[in-house]
């Protein structure tokens, strides 16, 4: 079976005169797997997700690419210039902007996605109920989308995309500004949807990646410096954790200089929480 996403020496820059924001990326993401994309701020994580969703190519007409990029069975599409929704669904970093503001209840808000895809009224009703149940949002169905907590809005934002049942789900820092309960909810949702959907999420901490991802990519300055599974990642952990944690933090908090064991313990805790085997 063709991979969900395949990049071969893929590079991207915003215009002919700018530096390469992504350089020589080569990796494949198997269908149904969960991939964590790690890296510091500015590493190119969001750029990669926006490229895969088609939004970057659409909004930056002067953007150029080289190499090949394939999404599902598309063949080499180079740089997608239109949104690939609903095949590829993306939840942006700020969940509050995912809520359109056009509706007064959560269920109407979620149904907006399917209206855009010209689903019938019955189909919309059925799918929305299904999605509300899957994401434990039934009690919030008649609430105003903006009167919810950060974690609840994040779930609504996810529901707005998942209701369309995309083949690939892209999550840009899904744990951003969530408390620990909210973060665990998001982690649980990712865990539930992998297998059915190919999930890619970005993060700057390694604990969630180690707990639930099948595949890990580490980006640094637009380049991929690690592409492999958890075990391989842990073998090189010192090298990558030094990249993931800025140097200035290590000076301030010496314990961060050797965080691996702590990260591993945290990952084991998360994995145990979800009944996952932590290999």
């Amino acid at each position: 079976m063709t991979p969900a996403i395949a990049l071969e020496k893929f590079s991207l820059r915003y215009s002919a005169m700018s530096h390469w924001a992504l350089s020589d990326l080569t990796f494949q993401i198997p269908r149904g797997s969960c991939c964590a994309i790690l890296g510091q701020t500015g590493a190119g994580k969001s750029t990669l997700l926006h490229t895969l969703s088609g939004l970057l190519g659409k909004h930056h007409r002067s953007a150029e690419s080289s190499g090949s990029l394939q999404v599902m069975d598309s063949g080499d599409i180079s740089l997608p210039r239109e949104s690939l929704f609903p095949r590829v669904g993306m939840v942006l970093q700020d969940p509050y902007v995912m809520v359109s503001g056009l509706y007064e209840t959560v269920d109407e808000e979620i149904s907006f996605t399917l209206q855009n895809l010209n689903y019938s009224r019955d189909q919309i009703s059925h799918r929305v109920q299904q999605t509300l149940a899957t994401l434990n949002l039934e009690t919030f169905a008649s609430r105003h989308p903006t009167h919810l907590s950060g974690g609840e809005v994040q779930r609504v934002a996810l529901a707005c995309i998942l209701v369309a049942q995309p083949d690939i789900l892209l999550l840009d820092e899904p744990r951003n500004s969530l408390d620990s309960a909210g973060q665990e909810t998001v982690a649980r949702i990712i865990k539930d949807f992998r297998g059915k959907t190919t999930v890619l999420f970005t993060d700057y901490q390694i604990d969630l990646a180690l707990a639930i991802a099948d595949h890990i990519l580490v980006l640094d300055g637009g380049r991929c410096i690690f592409n492999g599974n958890k075990s391989a990642f842990l073998k090189h952990n010192e090298e990558f954790t030094s990249i993931l944690i800025p140097d200035e933090w290590k000076d301030v908090i010496p314990a961060l200089a050797a965080p691996t064991s702590k990260a591993v313990r945290n990952s084991q805790r998360i994995a145990k929480l979800f009944g996952l085997d932590y290999a």
């Binding site: 215009s15 969001s46 750029t47």
Partner: protein, 204 residues
């Protein structure tokens, strides 16, 4: 032409247009908070004319006037023709590249102030008898007490206040668009009105 209009009202632009409507309505709150003797209630219209185009600017300005009418300032809806002039003229000025030089937009503000003053004075005089529930009413009343006709009074009042208001509006919009990061400016159909399109050197 149709493609340009479609670009102005493309899905991703709609939140920005809505923001410009709200900006026209809200800026009055700011000038009141600061107790400044200016309106600046067409900042959103001009911003949209520069970054997008004149049609969306006219629509946004008209919506703002209608909403203002609905909530406390009824005469505003009758000044929609003035909004059309503001959006149209600002769109042309932006297209000519005048928003790349501050002295050109001061000239642009004066040029805009003249037709808006002429039009708003006619509306004010013949629709409302010079009374529009604003501070300008005192100025009109003063001129009338000196023996000038109604239209003359509203015209003089408009020529005193409008060009100044429009120059300040243009300067504010100029400062905003010139300071917009390139990665954001790129996303607007009117990006070329602000700067010659430069390389986007900021990766997001």
């Amino acid at each position: 032409m149709r493609r340009k209009i479609a670009e102005e009202f493309a899905g991703p632009m709609l939140p920005f247009i809505a923001f410009c409507v709200a900006l026209n309505l809200t800026v009055g709150q700011i000038t009141a908070l600061l107790k400044l003797p200016v309106y600046l209630d067409s900042i959103g219209t001009v911003l949209l004319a520069v970054l997008s185009g004149p049609i969306s600017a006219i629509v946004a300005g008209s919506f703002a006037n209608l909403i203002a009418s609905a909530f406390g300032n009824p005469p505003m809806m009758f000044f929609i023709p003035v909004v059309v002039v503001i959006g149209g003229v600002s769109g042309v000025i932006a297209k000519l590249g005048w928003f790349r030089r501050w002295y050109l937009i001061v000239l642009g503000g004066i040029l805009l102030g003249i037709p808006t003053a002429a039009l708003s004075s006619v509306i004010s005089a013949y629709v409302f008898g010079g009374v529009t529930m604003g501070a300008a009413d005192f100025i009109v009343l003063f001129f009338r007490s000196q023996g000038f006709t109604l239209h003359q009074s509203t015209l003089f009042q408009a020529f005193i206040m409008d060009p100044v208001d429009k120059i300040i509006t243009y300067l504010v919009v100029f400062a905003v668009v010139r300071n917009l990061p390139q990665r954001l400016l790129h996303r607007f159909p009117g990006a070329g009105n602000v700067r010659h399109q430069q390389p986007d050197i900021h990766a997001s």
